[in-house]
């Protein structure tokens, strides 16, 4: 079981809990292979997917995971919600809670929004991405994918390349990878590095060649096209020249390197199509594993609820 009744971030999980989630996800992958992809585990439970930011992949992944576990689910998208009418986040959630959901999966543009709910609401809160802060299920599915290919995480060289500053994927992944004993290199332009990056427990570099050299895993992060406007980068073209992952750069990595991307990808900006669609890419496996990992998280958190009920 997990120590916390919520999943807010990798900051709150210890290595044993991470292994438990990954092992549970392993058991869940078998369900996707069945002709009838459904188990009754969460029958009678209500899960609300509350998405204040647009998301295709993560929301769909949670919905599929919930349905495979037989939960009753509903998804609230921001455009239909009361937020545009000036309602506070807390009021929105308390109104939803009046309908007695068991769990709330939330994505929100503000860091710490799920922590506010965890402090003041009744439901189990699962963070599906809070601003630039954390995206814990992404880190877990990344770890699951790496483990499938490498057998474990201990001692691996993992290079994370891209917009480090704005990335919740970076923040969650670095914590998970450090807890599991991987060696993490973080590469990006100086303008897109958080302050005091070494204190995150990573080796910072502005050279993608150095980051990728002999890497076991390369994780690419998305560059938003509008980053030129904050003077972070001069152009996406220059970005690709300096930081784009090309087949030539992949050749510097270990022969069995895996290339990952949390999506959505910008082909030709951070990653060459030949790499994205190439033999080392596990990008679509990540998506498939996302369902299993989210099923594991839902199951473990619901189980804990059942115990405390």
């Amino acid at each position: 079981m997990l120590k916390s009744r919520h999943l807010l971030g990798m900051a709150d999980l210890d290595p044993e809990e991470i292994v438990l989630i990954l092992d549970t996800a392993g058991a869940m992958t078998e369900i996707a292979a069945r002709p009838i992809k459904k188990v009754p585990t969460l029958r009678g439970r209500t899960v609300v997917n509350l998405f204040f930011e647009p998301s295709t992949r993560t929301r769909t992944s949670f919905e599929v995971a919930e349905k495979r576990l037989s939960a009753d689910t509903l998804s609230v998208a921001v455009a239909q919600s009361s937020v545009t009418k000036g309602e506070t986040l807390l009021d929105t959630v308390r109104n939803l809670e009046a309908m007695a959901p068991d769990m709330i999966v939330m994505r929100h543009a503000s860091a710490g929004a799920p922590h506010l709910l965890a402090r003041l609401c009744r439901s189990v809160i699962i963070n599906a991405g809070d601003g630039m802060h954390e995206h814990p299920t992404q880190a877990l599915l990344d770890a699951f994918t790496i483990r499938e290919h490498k057998g474990g995480l201990q001692g691996l060289k993992v290079a994370i390349v891209g917009d480090l500053l704005h990335s919740r994927v970076l923040r969650s992944n670095v914590q998970l990878l450090n807890k599991m004993g991987a060696n993490v290199w973080a590469c990006g332009p100086k303008t897109l590095m958080p302050p005091e990056l070494p204190r995150f427990g990573v080796r910072p570099t502005t050279s993608i060649d150095e980051a990728v050299a002999d890497a076991d895993v390369v994780m690419m992060l998305r560059i938003q096209h509008e980053r030129m406007h904050g003077h972070f980068i001069p152009s996406t073209r220059e970005y690709f020249t300096l930081f784009g992952l090309t087949p030539e750069r992949v050749a510097r990595a270990k022969p069995d390197v895996v290339i990952m991307h949390p999506g959505p990808m910008n082909r030709g900006v951070e990653i060459d199509s030949d790499v994205a669609d190439g033999p080392y890419s596990v990008i679509l496996e990540q998506v498939a594993n996302g369902v299993a990992v989210r099923m594991a998280v839902l199951y473990l958190l619901a189980g804990q609820e059942a115990v405390t009920d």
């Binding site: 986040l89 503000s110 860091a111 710490g112 506010l116 809070d130 302050p195 204190r199 995150f200």
Partner: protein, 432 residues
Amino acid sequence: MKMLLKGGRVVDPASGRDGEFDVLIEDGRIARVDKSLPADGAEVFAIKPGWLVAPGLIDIHVHLREPGQEHKETIATGTLSAVTGGFTAVACMPNTDPINDHPGITELILQKAAAANLARVYPIGAVSMGSRGELMAELGAQKAAGCVAFTDDGRPVASALLMRRALEYAGMLGLPIVNHCEDPSLKGDGVAHEGFHAARLGLRGIPGVAESIMVERDIALAELTGGPYHVCHMSARQSLRAVRDARTRGTTNVTCEVAPHHFVLTDESLEKPIRYDTNVKMNPPLRETADRDAMLEGIADGTIDVIATDHAPHHADEKLVEFDHAPFGIVGLETCVPLVFDRLVHAGRIGVSRAIALLSTNPARVFGLPGGSLANGVAADVTILAPDAAVTIRAKDLKSKSRNTPFDGWQLTGAVAATIVGGRLVYNNEAL
């Protein structure tokens, strides 16, 4: 009408007086400060052993929120909070709704303050109309109405040209320009100090140099124009260094203040004890340890002239939101004295006399206010302090209309015993 403050240690940095004296108040004024004065018909207020008798404390950075934001604070509740915190006078910031850029608003504030009849209220006028940084407000008319300084606080005076002219013009009137120093482009949409803790929490950062760049600019303009200039709520070590360097080269028209939270807390409070507590969101933000320590040094070595609270009340509903969306600011009037005594005096960083100078003598001098002294004949604004009394801060017990403090539950040593304004006992701490 006579009152005799009998016993206690009188600390009056303006006169250098520091010792056991009695203080006789007659017709609202200080009549005599001397050893063993006879009661002679006066009402006797017994000062307990160990207590201090100080010139009334003056907070030159307070947001009273009236007119326009009375759900956060009113002049009545704000001045009640002030006297409860030992302040006999406050200077109130012009970022009300509407902005105080007009004598009519200054007059309204003064009328409301007179009606409340607690602490003295000195309005600070806007530098520019609507604090928009475009047209200079009528500073002369505002002075005539009662303004004691000018600022666009809440926003910086971003235009160097406006700052230059304002320093010249206000200098002509003999009043200081107070600037909330923050380069708008470097601040961006930041919500916390740019450092490790904000980075880890995914909060957009505001670097210390966003402040110090404007402090440096303003010092250059103060030196160019000769107008009195005051840096409000200084938070960054680079800003302190800029002021110290200016003093070293002989500049005398630059002063600065620090708020208690900037010499007590650091950005670690973003994560502990509660992550994303909106009561540690203020502007300027809580900075890192090196900045906090620089503020402590500046207080001890005399670079910092004034401690001012930046009392910024906000309604609980406004703070009970995502960190990004919460307004900046905390209340400070009722937590200042305990923090100053606990963290500065009892911690051995400064003596009692320096503490009183920072809280009374210097604020009066910087803004040219009456008060800040216990000289014969001045209005009898007196704060009586119990420096060794234990205090537990209770947000729910604050007299301010708002409760937004990060110090709830803190146990500190140093209390306000009584507050006297114009010879009238306006606050008496019954708990002592």
